[in-house]
């Protein structure tokens, strides 16, 4: 009887080692998987917020629009020459990284802040693409409350979303200044803002862009105001899993392409002329390389040679994406601020395409 009960344990151990060995042997090395899998599948699976005006939300036709959505559209345009070959998954802030790590989505484009512990392999083990929106954490209060500074929030309740950097910055800033407060945390943005509007908390805190965006959907936007304090740096950008450089490199350079296009004055409106000009002028080496007329930059990334013209023709350059979704042409009318091209004193900068 004794020895009988021990046999399964021995078998289990043997199996563990055996299978571990096989699986290790089949490994194709980093990067082979995801990009090839996306191409074979024919659609890109993208995790978005889905309820944040300007970043990702459904317009009146039920189509997803926003900066975060344009990231997915640009990658789909580069891969499939069709920005609509994207399957969107709406994720809450606490679901997002698990959904990405488990492979439920290929790319997470959900206004996520880049931090060391999210990036590091000993932390969340994520791979951050370039920052597409430089933001900072803000605090919104009802105008009627008369609150104009953080100090006046002493002893009050502050609403925020569970599983965000916001939650940590809030604790840090208030602890530093020894301001007592009560945080009430919700699972989704909808719940957070509903509770705030119902008066559960004196203030709500999030990225300033998000507060401005949500404010536009309030019944009376003018009744709420952002405090001048900026609690943190929030560089927002899309994310992929670690150790898959095929996909992360492709995504990185798709985004740089939109930034480089703005630097070079290439827009969705003049891309055709620019392309014809590049083809006709062998001396325009920079432009020819960038637009894939010569060289093999696309090929090196596992993308088609003409991936840049495809992106610019369908989603436009960074400046166009910005003003269409959150800037002067949108309802939000957010100032470009830090998000200007480096040529205008901002932080948006593309490394050279060569």
């Amino acid at each position: 009887m004794r020895s009988f009960s021990r046999t399964p344990a021995a078998l289990l151990l043997g199996l563990l080692f055996g299978l571990g060995g096989c699986a290790g042997g089949q490994d194709q090395g980093p990067g082979a998987g995801r990009l090839a899998a996306i191409k074979a599948r024919g659609t890109l699976s993208c995790g978005v917020d889905g309820k944040l005006p300007g970043f990702s939300y459904q317009d009146s036709d039920g189509k997803y629009v926003g900066i975060d959505v344009d990231v997915c559209r640009a990658l789909a345009a580069a891969l499939f020459n069709d920005p609509n070959k994207v399957e969107y998954r709406e994720l809450t802030s606490s679901e997002r990284f698990t959904a990405l790590a488990s492979g439920e989505v290929d790319v997470l484009s959900r206004n996520s802040t880049r931090t060391l512990s999210r990036d590091a392999s000993g932390g969340n083990g994520l791979e951050f693409a370039p920052t597409i929106y430089y933001d900072g954490q803000g605090v919104m209060v009802p105008v009627a409350s008369g609150i104009t500074s953080l100090k006046q929030l002493a002893g009050k309740t502050i609403c925020t979303e569970n599983g965000t950097t916001t939650e940590l910055n809030l604790a840090d800033r208030f602890r530093e200044q020894a301001i007592p407060y009560t945080p009430v945390k919700y699972q989704t943005g909808d719940q957070t803002y509903a509770a705030y509007l119902q008066g559960r908390c004196a203030a709500v805190t999030s990225d300033r862009s998000q507060l401005a965006a949500k404010k536009t959907s309030f019944p009376d936007p003018a009744a709420h105001t952002l405090l001048p304090d900026v609690l943190s740096k929030e560089p927002l950008g899309p994310v992929t899993v670690n150790n898959d450089s095929g996909l992360s490199d492709a995504l990185r350079w798709v985004l740089f392409a939109t930034m480089q296009a703005e630097e070079s004055g290439i827009t969705s409106k003049n891309i055709k002329e620019k392309l014809a000009f590049a083809k006709a002028n062998p001396n325009q080496a920079d432009l020819r390389r960038f637009l894939g007329v010569e060289g093999e930059l696309g090929q090196q990334l596992g993308l088609p040679a003409d991936f840049v013209p495809r992106i610019i023709a369908s989603v436009g350059n960074y400046g166009e994406i910005y003003s269409r979704n959150v800037g002067s042409e949108s309802k939000l009318k957010l100032d470009r601020g830090l998000n200007r091209s480096y040529k205008d004193g901002g932080l948006i900068y593309s490394p050279p395409f060569r």
Binding site: F4, P8, L11, L12, L15, L16, L19, G20, A23, G24, D27, S93, S94, F97, T98, A101, S117, R118, S121, G122, G123, N124, G125, L126, T157, C159, N162, G163, T164, E167, L168, L170, A171, D172, F174, R175, Y181, T182, P183, V184, K185, Y186, Q187, Q191, A194, A195, Q198, G199, R200, V241, N242, N243
Partner: protein, 316 residues
Amino acid sequence: MTALPWWRDSRKVGWLVQAAVGLGLLLVVALLLSNLEHNLTRAGLRLTLGWLNQPAGFDIAETLLPYRASDSYGRALLAGLVNTLRVVGIGLVLATGLGVVAGAASFSTNPLLRGLSRTYVEVVRNIPLLLQLVFWYFAVFLTLPPANQALQLPGLQLAKSGVYLLGARLVNGELVGGWRLSLELAALLTGLVIYSAAFIAEVVRGGIASVPKGQWEAAESLGLKPLATLRLVVLPQALRVIVPGLNSQYISLAKNSSLAVAIGYPDLYAVAETTLNQTGRGIEVFLLLMAVYLGLDLCISVLMNGLERLVSLKDR
């Protein structure tokens, strides 16, 4: 006696079948484990619990266990667990009380009371709990008036700043003293108790219905009033049927308490969700969560099984 060939020996065949099934099960588990191990190694994540000692860095709205943002993740999770136990503990007592009353009321001779009890059970148990919690929180508790116009009930004051028991006083437009429950806790308890009590009422009704009608009639012929009949004759016999049913309702209540996260109450699950996000330790956090809820439910089960033995019919 000739030796039976092994394939005809039902004992040996039984063993073999069991061993085969056991082996198959182990194979599946081993496959899953090795898959997990392999994928985690590839992603550069090794299972570890070292992060439990790291400072959590986030605040928790309300804790029974003293907790500050500079405490460890382990402490934060423990504070969350205590918050869960608080809800489950209070919830079990209140749900049992309400459930027994509602269950017994369905046998009332008063048609109004009987109808009320049946309507309550049918309405409440057919609406998803999550929906009910969101309703209680957003539509009821968050629409309460400010403190200086608090709803006054005997021994109870309801305001946007919280629910106050045992006589809070109004000082400078704010309620102080008494025993304050946050709106999140109050909404969670209300939702959980009302929902669970509807199921408990059904269990109690079933138990009472299992007592033969003759027992009622006998008690009545002895001159006992209906309430005394219920208390002295029917309930003691009904308990044998009620207790096993209660066991599974109590377990449900404990598990359902994790829906707290939807209405902002910092229970174990809510704290674990934040922890998971900040540390990226998804597998470890979920294994811990599952172990804790399993442990909690097993405790309830063991206690209820003890109670079941206590009330069961003793053979003499």
